[in-house]
Symmetry: C2
Subunit: 284 residues, 2 copies
């Protein structure tokens, strides 16, 4: 595995590979790898000739009062993991390269970002779509891999690719969870012991709602109430939102037909965590 | 020459050409060709293996009260001209293909669009950068050609390409003028006889300012005054703006050093026309 920090070198590498007919799989990350990232890298390794893992903590997707500075970083460990998992390139540009002085362009997916995390994190998805558009141009992937935990991000990236006629296949892989059910996240490291215990309520409340759904409940309002009630029972956890939305448009759904996305965000202390589950009448 | 209306067919064509090592030159236009367009096509023809001329009157770059519906169109004549000039592909998608239902993504170059035409045409450059990003993805050009008459557009496209790490070389070709000096524009067809006569003042006033500059005048304020005074002498012409700006950042320049862009926009009746000239201490 080769580490590349320079954008132009990365461009040359990916263009040479593409020209010689090799397929490129990209795993764009903010680093501090957990098994969710590993799952993305492993899939990319299986499905492509060349695997590029990018690590860039993207400042433009953090709000002014968010955790850009504190966001956990461990590039040496990330590099070891990427290597172990068979990545070919560890692409780690710095922010001066990605956003040189005078940078002024953005890519925005407007309709999908007015709900869910888009409300509590204004500008977040504009930062995400812009950096992903840049990474796609630099690394020219055939397939790019993202995790389902960031459900809204997944929908936004897919929409950007379709709307801008980009030549990238987007693969969204299932949420990877700790053995006790907590969705893996680089931010879990922020949690104190009691917060970590309370954090289990995210997955537990989603499971409960899934059970209610399986039992015939189709009212979003009642499913959301059930989740909120469970979350409110935990002292350290404050609901940001709990919503049932259309899987693609992310618009609110009142009465669920075939399928919907149940998504939530909470604050546990200062840590903001998200989780979600698909509700489907028939397993696909 | 082959006409292609379908985005996917255009994608397949450009990808086959790129894979076989052919260079692609793109001339993105809104059609209703004049010699300015012809100059772009001829340059593309000289410098590339394959020439794609696109014609798409892009609705998103017209304001609500602007001339999208009336904008002159003559695809049959455009096609003839493109063929005569040796284009390989005449790409003419329709707006339902370019902006399908639910379309929600935009590309925006923020800093450069807060001045000049960006003030009187809010949203215009967002429409331009979005459609050009799409055309680049669809046609995969090595070089794309634009005219200097749309000076701000040229700066915006260059900035978008740099910021988003796109692999396209942007070539900006000089303004092509009628024999009497009027900058060629598809919108000139709107002008009534007396308006057409008065429209000469655009070029004449820019020439006058160039003369003053050549004679040592470096004050933007005085150059702008000279132009405004000349334009104000014409009854049918109303100034939208006359400004001297930095060639790249498009920020106002008070005292000109080596080089600046002098740009203007006017309304003649209902027709909005633009023109510009570089002011350079030494010819490059």
């Amino acid at each position: 595995m080769k580490a590349i920090a320079d954008i132009d070198k990365m461009k040359v590498f990916s263009r040479i590979k593409r020209k010689s007919g090799k397929s490129i799989g990209l795993v764009p990350t903010m680093g501090y790898f957990h098994d969710g990232h590993v799952s993305l890298i492993r899939n990319a390794r299986k499905q492509n000739d060349v695997v590029v893992v990018s690590v860039f903590v993207n400042p433009t997707q953090f709000g002014a009062n968010e955790d850009y500075r504190q966001y956990p970083r461990d590039p040496a460990r990330d590099k070891e993991i990427a290597k172990r998992e068979g990545a070919d390139i560890f692409f780690c540009p710095n922010k001066e390269q990605m956003y040189p002085s005078g940078f002024s362009t953005s890519v925005e997916v407007e309709k999908l970002t007015g709900n869910l995390c888009g409300i509590s994190r204004p500008g977040h998805f504009k930062g995400v779509s812009t950096i992903v558009a840049k990474l796609f141009e630099i690394t020219k992937p055939d397939i790019a891999y993202f995790g389902q935990k960031d459900a809204q991000q997944a929908a936004v990236i897919k929409k950007m690719v379709a709307d801008l006629n980009m030549d990238v296949m987007i693969k969204i892989l299932p949420i990877v969870r700790e053995t006790d059910g907590l969705a893996m996240s680089s931010r879990n490291v922020y949690l104190k012991k009691n917060e970590r215990e309370d954090a289990l309520i995210l997955h537990q409340s989603l499971k409960k709602a899934e059970d209610l759904f399986a039992g015939g409940e189709r009212s979003s309002r009642r499913l959301v109430s059930s989740i909120k009630e469970m979350i409110d029972s935990k002292k350290t956890v404050r609901v940001d939102y709990v919503k049932v939305v259309d899987c693609e448009t992310l618009k609110a759904v009142d009465q669920i037909k075939d399928k919907a996305l149940m998504a939530l965000a909470v604050f546990i202390g200062k840590t903001r965590l998200i989780d979600n589950a698909f509700l489907k009448v028939h397993d696909e």
